[in-house]
């Protein structure tokens, strides 16, 4: 995945959106639903919520437009560019635009929602039979009012379930006439019109007057596209006229003749050669849900991914049973953290199993900023008598627990912990109190951090102490409290409520850091004194507890360090 330069993202979780206009291709209720489902794709995996506004300015303003639609990035007619969106921010930032020269569906052909009739707004069922004839589109057969209708089951004669199809004779959308149907003929600028027109508009949308005189009443609405209407071309919204003549030949169905791109088209009059009126024939169309989910990913801060199956891959491909790819989830949770369920509550101990000096007298174990002589740990003491360690990390595949110049090891092989061992015997240059440590996966070098200094061991040889500012960390950091390997050559370094990403090879901190721990790793304490990676999970430790996070950045366990990790 990629995020935009500077990890642009919303600085609030309750994001708002507003639908500014609709496409004539789909009933507005279907469009509303497609957008709501597209937002749910992202709210299902993040703490974000999406609230629809019906006026004023929302974070994400959604609109349809054609060709030059008012921003510096014009669309390009049918196919090609489908939509675009801007990363989070003020003004046009965060907005999403959809190319209305496309044929918007749910990805598998016409979605025709009926109105009135006796099917409660059910979708047309294509094909359906009526009086022995099979229909694969709406029809006016059987009616004298020229209103297109369809059956909502396969057999009208048997079920008698029907509804009316989108038609400007039935309703309009948008405009200022509250959805009233067109009135034909109507007068506009002194001219009479018998059908919807794009006259008077630059955006190519078809409209009509809802009274017989627009000049007088100024009442209008936009015309819904009929399911048989052509797309694009120069006759948007008109139905094909079959048969039609093209280059002297007669055609009874759509054809790709005359085009180099193989797209199916038809004439909307009986003779193309004479009238040159044409459009593309309805095809599977593009899923408004899928394209919107992709564009909303941009509006939330995700750039394109190079994972072919990811939603944020630049190219469109229809998917029947959609689910977010891991890459998309990692990307969006990198920005906003995972969906936070109830905050994990560490188990409250009913009795204190051991005399626990740490919680009785905080002065008992002040965290020295500079390494000092350590309070002796009786080597006979096993690790189970301690509640808090200086640091925990994996070295050579084994968990290491460090405390005051000693360390214990937990191998996967057996249940017991081994130790204590003396730190100074194995790593003589390193002070007794270690704030954090990690073994670089690629080079096997071991980094130790104490206060604002660090040491790097390669086998027995050591480099250090050096100031952590050498790595690009700010001098305001008291100590590095945790280290997480993130793939090859990157390590996250935690301190307080923040973390930085270290490029180990370049020995410097990546741009765009620090980030807040609780934003990216939602659900864990943001004052953890230790963070480490173990067996594919991330552990955040505070006092005697740990919060375990899985690869999807969900906290899947809270427990005791000594029982679950040290196996006491």
């Amino acid at each position: 995945y990629q995020t935009f330069e500077g990890d642009l993202k919303w600085d609030h979780k309750d994001v708002t959106y507003r639908i500014l206009n609709y496409s004539p291709d789909m009933d507005s209720a279907l469009t509303d639903d497609a957008f709501a489902r597209a937002f749910k794709v992202w709210s299902d995996v993040t703490p974000l919520t999406f609230t629809r506004l019906f006026d004023g300015t929302a974070d994400i303003m959604i609109s349809f437009g054609k060709a030059d639609h008012g921003d510096p990035y014009p669309f390009d007619g049918k196919d090609g560019l489908l939509a675009h969106a801007y990363p989070p921010g003020e003004g046009v930032q965060g907005d999403a635009h959809f190319d209305d020269d496309e044929y918007w569906t749910l990805g598998t052909g016409p979605v025709v929602k009926t109105r009135y009739g006796n099917a409660d707004g059910a979708m047309c069922h294509f094909p359906f039979t009526f009086e022995g004839k099979t229909y694969s589109s709406c029809t006016t057969d059987g009616r004298t009012d020229n209103l297109p209708w369809c059956a909502t089951t396969a057999d009208y004669s048997k079920d008698k379930k029907f509804g009316f199809c989108p038609s400007e004779l039935l309703y309009t959308f948008g405009g200022n006439a509250d959805g009233a149907p067109c009135v034909f003929p109507f007068t506009f600028l002194g001219e009479e019109y018998d059908s919807c027109t794009t006259e008077g508009r630059r955006d190519g949308y078809r409209w009509c007057a809802t009274t017989d005189n627009f000049d007088k009443d100024i009442k209008y609405g936009f015309c819904p596209s009929r399911d048989t209407a052509v797309i694009g071309g120069n006759s948007e919204g008109e139905p094909c006229h079959f048969p039609f003549v093209f280059l002297g030949k007669t055609y009874d169905s759509c054809t790709s003749e005359g085009r180099g791109d193989g797209k199916l088209w038809c004439s909307t009059t009986d003779n193309y050669d004479d009238h040159k009126k044409w459009g593309f024939c309805p095809d599977q169309g593009y899923s408004l849900f899928l394209v919107a989910a992709h564009e909303f990913g941009h509006a939330l801060g995700l750039d394109h991914s190079n994972i072919r199956d990811a939603l944020m891959y630049p190219m469109y491909s229809y998917v029947e049973d959609f689910s977010l790819h891991e890459d998309d989830i990692q990307g969006i949770q990198y920005l906003y953290g995972p969906k936070t369920g109830p905050d994990p509550k560490p188990p409250q101990p009913t009795t204190v199993p051991y005399p626990d000096p740490d919680i009785t007298d905080p002065t008992n174990d002040p965290r020295p900023t500079e390494p000092t002589t350590t309070t002796p740990v009786d080597p006979a003491n096993d690790a189970c008598k301690l509640t808090k360690f200086d640091t925990i990390t994996v070295i050579e595949g084994e968990l290491h627990f460090f405390k005051d110049g000693h360390y214990w090891k937990m191998s996967n092989r057996n249940d017991g912990n081994q130790g204590p061992f003396s730190v100074s015997e194995r790593w003589p240059a390193v002070p007794a109190v270690i704030d954090s440590a990690f073994e670089d996966i690629l080079t096997k070098k071991i980094y130790f951090f104490s206060g604002n200094r660090f040491w790097v061991y390669t086998g027995q040889s050591v480099l250090g102490p050096r100031s952590i500012e050498k790595l690009g960390l700010p001098n305001t950091i008291q100590k590095v409290e945790g280290a997480l390997q993130r793939g090859k050559g990157k390590v996250l370094l935690f301190s307080g409520e923040n973390f930085w990403r270290l490029d180990v090879k370049a020995q410097t901190i990546d741009k765009g850091y620090p980030k807040y721990t609780d934003v990216v790793f939602g659900g864990v304490p943001n004052d953890a004194h230790d963070v480490f990676q173990y067996n594919g999970h991330i552990y955040f430790c505070r006092d005697r507890f740990y919060w375990r996070m899985n690869s999807r950045k969900q906290v899947d366990r809270v427990g005791y360090v000594k029982y679950d990790l040290l196996k006491c």
Binding site: Q2, F4, E5, A67, Y73, F75, D76, G77, K78, D79, G80, L81, L82, A83, H84, A85, D99, D101, E102, G232, G233, N234, L247, E257, G258, R259, G260, D261, W265, K276, W278, Y286, V291, H294, E295, H298, D303, H304, N306, R308, P314, M315, Y316
Partner: protein, 89 residues
């Protein structure tokens, strides 16, 4: 067998998608999606930058990185997609 009908290509009024050559299509695509900067380059330089830009696009799309305008690359450029550039700019 009758000779295959020679297809006649017609320019349809209002058809935004002009019949472009593959080279024009590719250059427009690489610029539009941020693989190639829009300032004009001359001759040899232009070829190098186009080849490099093609390789970057082929990598982004999971295609074989030939640096050539091969068939699969042209097909990918004709596929419907999002208008947001692939290379942050």
């Amino acid at each position: 067998w009758s000779l295959p009908l020679k297809s006649v290509f017609v320019t349809f009024p209002g058809d935004i998608m002009k019949n472009m050559t593959d080279g024009e299509l590719a250059e427009g695509y690489l610029k539009k999606f941020g693989y190639m900067d829009t300032l004009q380059r001359s001759g040899f330089q232009s070829m190098v930058s186009t080849s490099k830009a093609l390789k970057r696009m082929q990598r982004q799309m999971g295609l074989e990185e030939t640096g050539e305008l091969d068939k699969s690359t042209i097909e990918a450029m004709k596929k419907p997609r999002c208008g947001v550039p692939d290379v942050a700019n």
